[in-house]
Symmetry: C2
Subunit: 415 residues, 2 copies
């Protein structure tokens, strides 16, 4: 089978081609892009056998086990899911060339602010091969060229998937590029390619994200890390609090929107801390805590200073007793990763104060933090969850893969 991706092409050449492809992508209409996306989905299903074969080799050579191996695994159901994901993107509205504002100046200049693709989007990610397809589809829909740098354990799976997508008729050459994952050099080149690449989105663990943020010359959308808090205020409904805390901590402890810390108002601590600790322990959670919580529930393991900023990503939770909503807000603003934090209370004034003053991407009142997700927000897709304040914040998808430009039409105006 002919392929447009060859390991013989250098990273720099792939970036140059992606830049050129981004100009060609500007000329595709929404209908053309949607037709190509549907063909991509069909091609993934039609090539399931060769994808699974590539994935088998990756699995065998990975040396991974357990949850890590599961993240790398593809099977017929997961291939169908990937194809469905691409078809879902077809139904999302195309933000490109949307007119955001339009006005005429007193001198007659007509100014129009429109959405345009970012240009070339770089994605650096770890083992899950579905990220290759998900992000390529979102980038293509928004008229962006994409440069993918996946994990080396998924090299063959990603290579096969990128080939299949790139070979679809109508995809400009180089618009979906996969970089060599056998060395770190390609990451270094990608994040230094200011001028060729418009944004880098790292998707993965804290180590990867920090490395990219600290070393990239290309602007970054920082995603992911979530040291999320739940504050149980004095007027909280205990039953509601039980359900939310257990859900936020245990439903999927390895994800960024899982809760890691529990703050409890001191006036209810004597009643609520033992109650929730018992339930958490029943759910297999290791509970740590400050001195005040340990006086109430001696089974709690002492929490050290390193616990408060830590994202556990496992069945562990640290409890702290606070004197009021303001202390809860101050603690969260000091230690949280500005991802998702929730107050459980019947007191609207406290809730409004918490919603306003907690400096996080998503702030909740009487719900689980687990809703911070593009799908749960109704976006139909998700590129990531931004924990920075520039460009976009919280779950983001298609519109956030665009920039804007001004088109100004005159009749000879000068200053």
């Amino acid at each position: 089978m002919a392929t447009t991706i060859s390991p013989a092409i250098s990273t720099h050449d792939k970036l140059l081609r992606a830049r050129e492809a981004s100009a060609e992508l500007l000329l595709l209409s929404t209908a053309q892009k949607n037709a190509i996306l549907l063909t991509m989905a069909d091609a993934i299903e039609a090539n399931a056998a060769s994808i699974l074969e590539a994935n088998r080799t990756d699995l065998q050579e990975s040396g991974l086990e357990g949850a890590m191996l599961d993240r790398l695994l593809l099977n017929p159901a997961r291939i169908k899911e990937m194809a469905k994901g691409v078809r879902d993107v077809v139904h999302l509205s195309d933000p490109v060339f949307e007119v955001l504002a339009e006005w005429i100046r007193p001198n007659g200049l007509q100014i129009r602010k429109i959405r345009v693709p970012l240009g070339v989007v770089g994605i650096i990610y770890e083992s899950r091969p579905n990220v290759t397809v998900d992000t390529a589809a979102l980038a293509f829909k928004t008229g962006n060229a994409i440069v993918l740098r996946g994990g080396k354990e998924a090299a063959r799976s990603n290579q096969r998937l990128a080939e299949i997508l790139s070979n679809v008729v109508g995809v400009p050459e180089g618009a979906i590029a996969l970089l060599d994952s056998s060395t770190r050099d390609s990451v270094g080149e990608l994040i230094k390619a200011r001028g060729l690449v418009d944004v880098i989105i790292p998707r993965g663990g804290q180590g990867l994200i920090s490395f990219v943020v600290e070393n990239s010359l290309v602007p970054v959308i920082e995603t992911g890390a979530g040291n999320c808090h739940i504050f149980v205020d004095e007027s909280a409904d205990f039953e509601m609090a039980d359900a939310i805390v257990i859900n936020a901590k245990t439903q999927r402890p390895s994800v960024c929107n899982a809760a890691e810390k529990l703050l409890v108002h001191e006036s209810i601590a004597a009643k609520y801390v033992p109650r929730i600790v018992k339930k958490l322990v029943e759910h297999g959670v290791e509970v740590r805590g400050d001195e005040a919580s340990r006086r109430i529930a001696p089974s709690i393991v002492p929490a050290g200073p390193q616990d408060w900023p830590e994202e556990y990503l496992r069945l562990c939770m640290a409890v702290k007793v606070v004197k009021d909503t303001d202390e809860a807000i101050a603690h969260i603003n000091r230690y949280s990763t500005k991802h998702s934090d929730s107050i459980l209370t019947r007191d609207e004034a406290n809730a409004r104060r918490f919603l306003r003053l907690v400096d996080s991407a998503v702030v909740y009142w009487n719900t689980s933090t687990r809703f911070t997700d593009g799908g749960e927000f109704g976006f139909g897709a998700e590129m990531g969850v931004s924990t920075q304040k520039l460009h976009c914040r919280g779950p983001f998808a298609l519109a956030e893969l665009t920039s804007t430009k001004y088109e100004v039409v005159g009749t000879g105006q000068v200053r």
Copy 2:
């Protein structure tokens, strides 16, 4: 006079205080912020004598001459202008807490996307002391703490201005901080302060901007450099073209939206190049050019490869003959700084193609590039002109000094 700014406070402490001040700023209403801004304007006028005294010392010790000295100079008229600038900000609408979207999910969650201040904004700038006041007023109106790092030649003027603004009753302590400009250390600390500072905006020459972009760990809004092009298409109205080219090149050659390069369609080059070169020379412009333009107008100095990417910022312009709109677009996308570029043509199809495919912040049809400016766009203010694609692009002001957050209200929802 008591002052909240003391050189004894370390840069790190100023950043910590700015972070704390940003939380206090969130509690100010628009009316409170406007009242404080009006007091700031009055205080600038009331303290004109001490500002001028500080500025005189800066001028004497600067060793600067000519245009550079003029940029540093304050006089009673310029002080009045600064005060007026602050009063103008009062009349601009406050974007903070604006609801950008609001919806209810099938599970009953109420999601609200609102604008919030960025938090702490760092500005690194050069000699003009009015930047201290302009940017502090815009930051204050948008509920941001601001950390200013001006040029050392303006140290006393900036110190006096920052004191006056900080001492206005109601300004949270540390909300307007001025860093020590006597060494580069404060720049280094500021741009590495990820987590304390939310954005860095460099305002100045290419050297400063590149240094910040290459070394900052804090997200940056890249501003400024403009290698702007004018393309005179074959159907251009020559008289209109003359007026626009002369205006864009000569009205204020030292600014970023001045034109630096002139592209001329080959079919009109024999007529138009000699005509415009004569006019440019009459306006004191040094004209350089490619071989084709020099064959037509031998007085043109040869342009070297370094000319095409260069931002002259002075009375110099390079001319190149191109075979069509597509070659003009390709040349611009290769060499421009993605700031402002203009096509002069009667052909709407060529104009639309140029507007769409030139990858710059502002793209013009039949006007001068000199309109890329917050005031000219009708924004009433300008923080800078962004030449990057993330967060904002082109002239930006108040709304671009905000981020967003999601406030989500539930009734016990879990996943």
